[in-house]
Structures are given as C-alpha cells and as structure tokens.
C-alpha cells in the first residue's frame, strides 16, 4: 500500500523531471524568454517561439469555459433545486454517456456539424468570411466535452449542502431564488471553483478533438473567428513525424513541459481559491 502510494505521489514529479531533461537540448541553445515570448515557429530555421501556441491554448480554454460554465451552473441548480427526482435519475446516465464518448468522435462531430455552422451562419452573422476552422469552433466542441465533468461535480456540491440551511433561509422569508443566490451558491462556492478548475485543466489538455477543428495556423489569434493552434495540437501534429530530428523533438518536449506546468498552476490556483473560501 505504501509503495503504491509512493508511486502515485512521485508520478507527477517523475513526469515533470523527465520532460525537463528531454527539453534541455533546446534550453541550452535558446533563452527561455525567447522561446516563451516570441511567436515565430520555424523549426527548420531554428525558431521555436511558443507564444502563439500558448495564447491559443489560453483563449480556446477561456472561451470554452465561458460557454460551458454558465450552462453547467444553471443546469446544476435546476436539477438539484427545482427538478423532480426522476429528472436527475435520467440525467445521470446522460451525463455519463457524454463523459464517455471518445474525443475523436467529438472531433468528427465538430467537423461535420460545428465547422459548417460557424462558416455558414455564425461568422456571416458577424460579417466575417471564414472556412469555419476557428478558435470559436474549437471552443464550442470543447465546451460540450467539459460539460459532463463540471456538471457532475456541481450536482454533488449542491446536493451536499445541508437542507437545514435552505430551510432556515426560506423560514426567514427569502424567496426560492434569493435562497439559491445567497445560500446555495455562496455555500457551494469553493466547490464551484474546483469544478471550473477541473474543467479548465481538462480543456487545456484536450488534444485530438480540438486539433481537428481549430485551424492549426501558427500566429497569434486576434479574434474568435481566427484560427488558433493550441499546445497539445502542436505536440500531436508533429511528434511522430519529426522525432528523428533532435532539436525538433526537444522543442516538442519543452512545449509538453509548458503544458504540464500550466495545468499544475491551474490546479494550484483553484486549490488556493478553495482554501481561501473555506476558511471564511
């Protein structure tokens, strides 16, 4: 048992150190600053700027959370506060199915449904001409993918709030909605933060579904109808083909390290946020 525990505890460290060692070749040649804050990616001419990829990743993640966050919050409130018991019973398997669908299927669905939707309806509505492979397309696909994960946690969070609290609030004459706003959401706030944090981590690392619809153009995206190129897509697109070129491989390993560190930071931030709220 202790051994198993030790393995689990050390796993992230081993992963991180491994990635770091693999990327030293690149770090010896170029300054960290130059890699992280320039956006020219031309490995054959020795330019390894990751800024465009990092920003694309952040943008697509933020967008997907903007879409999925409110939807999940309202759904969870409805399911736990208003809906009949049997609705929740029906919803659980639905959520599980959504969570269990392989990423590739989401990607194919994105190409078949969301790409034409964006190019034929959404973009012209805003007066933009695009092929449909955009940051927004990626974010829409991603938001559908992370909904089940956020929703599951939110439902648990709201169900774990003691009924005495809501009863007390209602007894004092608060309306149903006031109770939800001031009691349920406030009491469940750390849980909401951690649910969103998990969604962000998942979204940030999602690879295949996003890379199939996001456009994969190397430049800093300036709007939601621009194509983007997230970090995981960079690794998945190039690894198998280019691992025989040492410098290239090292650059890909470094982008994996960046990905790893960013997800760690997200987790850390949501941990801190949770503990802040719990001590209040």
């Amino acid at each position: 048992m202790i051994v198993a525990l030790a393995i689990v505890v050390f796993l992230p460290f081993v992963l991180g150190i491994g990635l770091y060692l693999q990327s030293t070749l690149l770090l010896e040649e170029q300054s960290l600053f130059r890699i992280l804050f320039t956006s020219q990616w031309q490995p054959m001419s020795g330019k390894f700027g990751l800024l465009g990829f990092i920003l694309s990743s952040l943008m697509v993640t933020a967008l997907s959370l903007l879409i999925a966050g409110p939807v999940c919050l309202l759904t969870a409130i409805h399911l736990t506060q208003y809906a009949k018991k049997y609705v929740l019973k029906i919803m659980h398997p639905v959520i599980d199915i959504l969570a269990g669908i392989p990423s590739v299927i989401y990607g194919v669905w994105g190409i078949i449904v969301i790409v034409p939707l964006v190019s034929k309806y959404l973009a012209p509505f805003f007066g933009v001409q695009t092929s449909g492979y955009t940051l927004l397309t990626g974010a829409i696909v991603l938001s559908v993918m992370i909904i089940p994960f956020i929703l599951n946690i939110l439902i648990e969070v709201f169900r774990s709030i003691p009924t005495e609290l809501t009863e007390a609030s209602l007894a004092l004459g608060a309306t149903r909605w006031q109770t939800i706003k001031h009691v349920i959401v406030r009491k469940g706030f750390p849980g909401i933060i951690s649910a969103m944090g998990l969604g962000v981590s998942r979204a940030f690392g999602e690879t295949i579904a996003v890379l199939m619809v996001v456009g994969n153009v190397v430049k800093i995206p300036t709007g939601v109808f621009q194509p983007g190129y997230p970090l995981p897509a960079l690794i998945a697109n190039n690894y198998g083909e280019m691992m025989s070129i040492p410098q290239y491989q090292s650059a890909l390993m470094f982008s994996a390290l960046v990905l790893f560190v960013v997800v760690m930071l997200f987790n850390l931030a949501s941990r801190i946020a949770i503990s802040r709220f719990e001590t209040k």
Binding site: V115, Y133, L211, M212, Y239, G240, M242, S244, I245
Partner: protein, 325 residues
Amino acid sequence: MKKKYYKWLMALAIGLFFLPGSGCQGPSSQKASDGDELRGTISISGAWALYPMTVKWSEEFRKLHPRVRIDISAGGAGKGFTDAMSGMVDLGMFSRGFTQAELDRGVWYVGVTKDAVIPVINETNPFKEQILKRGITREEFQEIYLNQSITKWKDLLNIQDDNAIHVYTRSDACGAAEMFAEYLGKHQENLLGTGVFGDPGIASAVKNDPFGMGYNNVNFVYDLQTRRPYPGLVVIPLDLNQNGKIDPEEDFYDTLDELNTAIRDGIYPAPPARPLYFVAKSKPGRKEVIELLRWILTSGQEFVDEAGYVALPDQVIEEELKKLN
C-alpha cells in the same frame, strides 16, 4: 480518420495473425520452393504514406516465404526513423527527404517506390472550367501558399468576384506537406492556410468548400477501383511551361494510370512527387531482410500500380539494388 482506420486494420491484421490456419496455408504457399531457408521475424514501423503498400508487399512476400513473419506498424516517418536507428525495428518506412540532422546520424536507406502530392479544388468551384483551362503555375502557388499576395480567385483569373481562396494545408507534420512545400522551395512550416488533420481531413475540407484549395496524396484523390478522381474533387493541372494554358502534354489527370505514367517519366515534377524509402541503422545483415528488399525492388514492383503507387524507373532500381549487395 486515416490513422484510426489503420489502427483498426492493424488490430484486425494482428487478430487474423493469431487465428489458427490463417494467412499462410493458402494454396499459394505451394509456390514456396521446398526447403525454403528463409525464416524469422521482420519488424517494420514508420510513415503512414508507405503503410498500405508495405502491407500489400508483406502479404505477397509471405505467399512465397510462409516462414517469414512481418510485423508492420505505423506512426509517422520520424518514428520509423527513430525506431530503426535504435534497433527497435529492422526497417523504418520514410516518406520525405532527409534533413541534415538525420543524415548526420549515418542512416542507411533504400528507395522502394514513389508517390505524388497533387493540388485539388472543389468540383462545384464556380471557376472550375477556367482553372482547368489555364492551370496554375509554381509561382502562383507560391503567391497563394507562401506570400499571400494572391488571396482571392479574381487575383488568379480575370473576373469580377470577391470570394477568397480558402487555402487548406496539413496540420500534422507529414511527408506530403513537406513535399508540396519543397516544390515551392520551402518547408511545411512556411505553408500558410487553415491546418487540417490528415490526408482525408484536407480531402473532406475541400469537398465541403466550393472555394477551397488543398493538396493530397494521389491515393486520396483517385479511386483505386475506377482509376478516376473521387466525386467532389478536381485536380488542379500544373501549368508546367508557364504559357498560361494547359497544353495537351500537360493534361494527364484524367485517370490514375495517365498520371502515374507522367510521374514515373518525370513529366510531373518531383517534388511534389517523392520517393518513399526504407531506412535502417546500417545495411541489414539478416538474410530475410535483404531478401525482402530485393524482392520488393524486383517482383514486388508489379504490385505497386494496383495499390496506387508509382513504380521506380529501371535505372533507379539498378542503383538501389546495388545497395543490397
């Protein structure tokens, strides 16, 4: 999803392999000469572009030498190279030119077949007739794919129309994109346009976009059964002599066989036509590996056409065979 599809194929192949009495007890195994010496396992990994061809070759080779086992897996040219150099596999499949960094590692390679990358547009493109009549020159492709000085169809044709050219390129690093870029004098990383994953990805993006332009491996444009382009795709003829129109000798895109002849004879330029290689750490020492390569370069070449690839010219085969001695 080409990759997924191959993975299933692979799983199926492996599954079939373990079925008792599959594969090597067919009537064809009687062709094997008695006292067949060849036995052992040959492992191959690498480029997707060469995978279907290699599977076909290994099937045919095992009809002659049932005691040889051939394990094939795909994962990209870089993976094949790395596996071969580390001795994990006997042969790596490789589908692009070698970079200096790769040559510096002292790789041994032998060319086995050719294929080509061809530019395509959508069948319902409103300017299809004009494009088929005039073709597109290398310089114009450079303006479209590298410099973005041609962004609309009217920049290319003499028309009043404001539609943009929706340029598609491959998002995944691959020999096809690298070869198309080399034709334009650059690398894949310099190609502009929307990045789509995989060969079928570009094909379907262009099929669904009347203003789309992309490039594909020949196998993904032509139907191997009918030998004609798949419905929905039209090949952009290359205006090779740059006289602003497609001459009869530049017009060889009707059928796969015409195109393959043009590729083999070098009329269709290389790049974007490309040789496909097997690589190894050093010249293979094992008899069965050498025999497999020798068979591929001789009798094996007759299976190339039906699989949609291009046979190597005779003098090239002579050269490659010398490497095996």
